[in-house]
């Protein structure tokens, strides 16, 4: 699209011609970075809550909905009452997960989520960081320190807050694989105070470690959400939820 512009050729230097705006079709290959955030969404499948139900349990559930029974949200500390599976899922997603809308990674607190969003998805953040402004916040709430790079923040966490060197706030996701998990074990209940940020620094650190080290580093939602949530009638077997785990990172 180099075109001769006579006007400019009177200049003393021979410059290349101005690249005028030209409307063209723009196409991207499937692995182009342009599609990266959408791909991550797919690969994580974080919000898919798969039910592991037998026919009998399905029938129970249908009956449950028919009879307008209510059950309590099984998360420790939550007093919500829910009338159906769908309602449970909505409530659960709204109240017990802090999920990144771009890449679906789940965080134990909104604060950590918002730190993640800035650091991983915001180009202005990147731009400022590239210019040398200290942008990387210390993860421990109340500390207030900001560092200039991901690495120096990591160092700060180790030096000042005794984080292990293996701790990684942000881990890359893995290509599309799905593990089949069928179990009904009850996992750690996420510390779900609805006014969560009232926790002490120690608690945040613990959430950070527990939730993030084991959950984030494997990029499953399971550690910030119960993987087996019992939901059923009083005294009966009840139903179990199992999040459909997509990524497995085997801890070695």
């Amino acid at each position: 699209m180099m075109m001769v512009d006579n006007h400019l050729q009177t200049q003393t230097q021979l410059q290349s011609e101005f690249q005028y705006w030209l409307p063209v079709l723009r196409r991207f290959g499937p692995d182009d970075p342009f599609f990266a955030s959408g791909n991550i969404e797919r690969e994580l499948l974080a919000k898919q809550v798969a039910l592991d139900l037998t026919e009998e349990e399905k029938q129970q559930l249908r009956n449950l909905e028919d009879e307008h029974r209510e059950v309590f949200c099984p998360i420790v500390g939550c007093v919500a009452r829910l009338r159906s599976l769908a309602e449970f899922e909505d409530h659960y997603n709204a109240r017990h997960t802090a999920c990144c809308s771009v890449c679906s990674r789940v965080y134990p607190t909104s604060r950590l989520l918002s730190i993640h969003v800035s650091e991983a998805h915001d180009s202005f953040f990147q731009a400022k960081a590239a210019r040398g402004y200290p942008m990387y916040e210390c993860l421990v709430e109340g500390c207030g320190v900001k560092l200039k790079s991901y690495k120096s923040r990591h160092q700060h966490l180790m030096d000042k807050h005794n984080f292990p060197s293996s701790f990684e706030f942000f881990k890359k996701s893995r290509p599309s694989k799905k593990e089949r998990v069928k179990k009904t074990q009850r996992k750690k209940q996420q510390h779900a105070t609805e006014d969560g940020e009232g926790s002490s620094a120690m608690q945040v650190e613990e959430e950070t470690l527990d939730g993030l080290v084991s959950a984030l580093s494997k990029l499953t939602p399971s550690d910030s959400s119960p993987s087996a949530i019992s939901f059923g009638r009083r005294h009966t077997r009840g139903l179990a939820f199992v999040p459909r785990v997509v990524h497995r990172e085997t801890k070695k």
């Binding site: 400019l8 409307p23 293996s166 179990k183 084991s214």
Partner: protein, 511 residues
């Protein structure tokens, strides 16, 4: 990558002393001791537990117990496979089942131990033809979870691949076929090399056939596995797939009628077909597919579904001018519908949807003048302007493409394209220039180029020197002067040319 917790880490975890830990321990103890009980009124606790409760803090001791259990499970499997006597089949099934349980624990599946103990050859043997369904199912399940691990763990499945492929044939029972497809999907998802192997071993055709029935979880798993198989970068598989009898029909059928989950997987298949294969694109755009995709885009609220649907549309439009020229004809309802659906995406709170919708619009806006007028007069216009000034950088860039494309007529031969003055003047007077100057200031070369190109349109196309005034007012001269000694020659030249031409010695004389 991931590490077993080291001593310091364990120390940290164990030292945390607060209510949370105690609660967890309480729950754990209760469940252990009492089997099943109510945690509170109205909620039953599932007593159907396959495995004992984990502490979520993996203690090294537990991990090594798990590892020991695994290696003995593999040992038992080895004996069971060799065993010829009475009850041999049941023994083998039990052994497989035990191994499967150990590999299904969600915390730290002992894949490496299983492999080191020699699980793969045994699992492959368990897949031998004529084996009972239950045996095949358990073996395939083990392989599925092994394949979900690290790259070298996935690759360890090589000896079993031909067998897995064999069991997705039409004679297999559905659960077996599905589980094998799942395992194959994991293998295909690992990388190019394994995809190539699977394709050369003939996985494509049987997997495609599994996608043809109307419904069932098997169809969904097959579609998912297929999308992993054809995702390239070699376009051959995508091109082969579109030629298989019944595939196009199945795609249309599912896109028309199926639930969100299946439609999502099908949409991903279409994403790869359209991104990689021009043949597939040209076949698909001549069907009803665009219409169906647009309907899904307009009516669904599932992000999982919207992303691949939107992207499929984008690929089909970007991949073949036929789409914009012959299908999305201005005046036809389908075209109004797509603009409306894309506007819905622009209004979404999800960045991915906003960005990719803008990309799609930019390609439609690269079409005929009639297309540009249609978009310009639609509800998309004000949305674009708003996004241009407020959205994050990556979205802003795409929106910039739309706006710029709307202001420039299609190129005719060489020479610079002519302006669509109405659009340009209106956009500029609505304040779009600031967003473009932001792009000029950004670190992204492509964005900066875009910004400079638009500034040229403004300087050229606004009447009565208005362009120069506006650029100056928005600190555009300053933005351009930054490129004076910029390392990128193109940008340097463009910026200098603009400054020289429009802000040279004569500028300011009328002020």
């Amino acid at each position: 990558m991931d590490q077993l917790p080291n001593d310091d880490e364990i120390e940290c975890l164990l030292n945390i002393d607060d209510g949370i830990n105690d609660d967890e321990k309480k729950i754990k103890n209760k469940l252990w001791q009492e089997g099943s009980n109510d945690r509170r009124d109205g909620v039953g606790v599932s007593s159907d537990m396959d495995v004992p409760i984990d502490s979520d803090m993996i203690i090294e001791e537990e991990q090594s117990i798990l590892e020991a259990q695994t290696s003995s499970a593999v040992e038992e499997l080895k004996l069971a496979v060799a065993f010829q006597g009475k009850g041999a089949v049941q023994r083998q099934v039990n052994a497989l089942s035990e191994l499967r349980r150990l590999l299904s624990r969600s915390e730290f599946p002992p894949v490496e131990i299983a492999l080191r103990s020699g699980a793969i050859p045994l699992l492959a043997q368990s897949l031998s033809f004529g084996s009972q369904d239950e045996q095949l199912l358990e073996a395939a399940w083990c392989l599925t979870n092994i394949a979900a691990g690290k790259p070298e763990e996935t690759r360890a499945l090589l000896p079993a691949l031909p067998l897995l492929i064999a069991h997705i044939g039409e004679k297999s029972s559905l659960p077996v076929a599905e589980q094998c497809a799942w395992a194959l999907g994991n293998v295909a998802g690992e990388g190019e090399e394994l995809r190539h192997i699977l394709i050369s071993q003939g996985a494509l055709l049987p997997l495609a056939k599994m996608m043809l029935p109307n419904k069932g979880s098997t169809v969904r798993t097959a579609a998912w596995a297929l999308s992993n198989l054809i995702k390239g970068p070699d376009p051959k598989a995508a091109t082969e797939l579109i030629k298989i009898d019944g595939v196009v029909d199945a795609i249309l059928r599912h896109m028309r009628k199926s639930d969100d989950e299946l439609a999502t997987e099908i949409a991903w298949v279409v994403v790869y077909l359209s991104a990689l294969s021009t043949i597939a694109t040209s076949v698909l755009v001549k069907t009803d597919l665009l219409q169906l995709l647009i309907e899904r885009l307009a009516s669904s609220n599932s992000l999982q579904l919207l992303i691949p649907v939107l992207r499929s549309l984008g690929n089909l439009i970007a991949g073949d001018a036929y789409t914009t020229n012959a299908v999305l004809v201005v005046g036809h309802e389908i075209t109004d519908n797509i603009i409306r659906a894309l506007s819905k995406c622009l209004k979404s709170e999800h960045r991915v949807l906003k960005k990719e919708a803008a990309w799609v619009l930019s390609n439609i806006a690269a079409g005929s003048v009639a297309h540009k007028q249609l978009i310009y007069t639609s509800e998309a216009s004000p949305l674009l302007l708003q996004l241009l000034s407020t959205s994050p950088f990556d979205i802003k860039k795409e929106v910039a493409y739309v706006v710029g494309n709307l202001c420039v007529a299609p190129a005719e031969g060489s020479g610079r394209s002519s302006l669509i003055s109405d659009h340009l003047v209106s956009f500029v007077r609505s304040g779009c220039l600031r967003g473009f100057i932001d792009l000029v200031r950004s670190a992204d070369i492509e964005a900066a180029r875009l910004g400079l190109q638009f500034m040229e349109l403004v300087l050229r196309g606004m009447p009565n020197g208005e362009g120069q005034q506006l650029v100056e007012k928005e600190d555009g001269i300053d933005a351009m002067e930054r490129f004076q000694f910029h390392e990128n020659e193109d940008l340097r030249n463009m910026a200098n040319q603009l400054v020289d031409k429009y802000f040279g010695e004569d500028y300011g004389l009328d002020h």
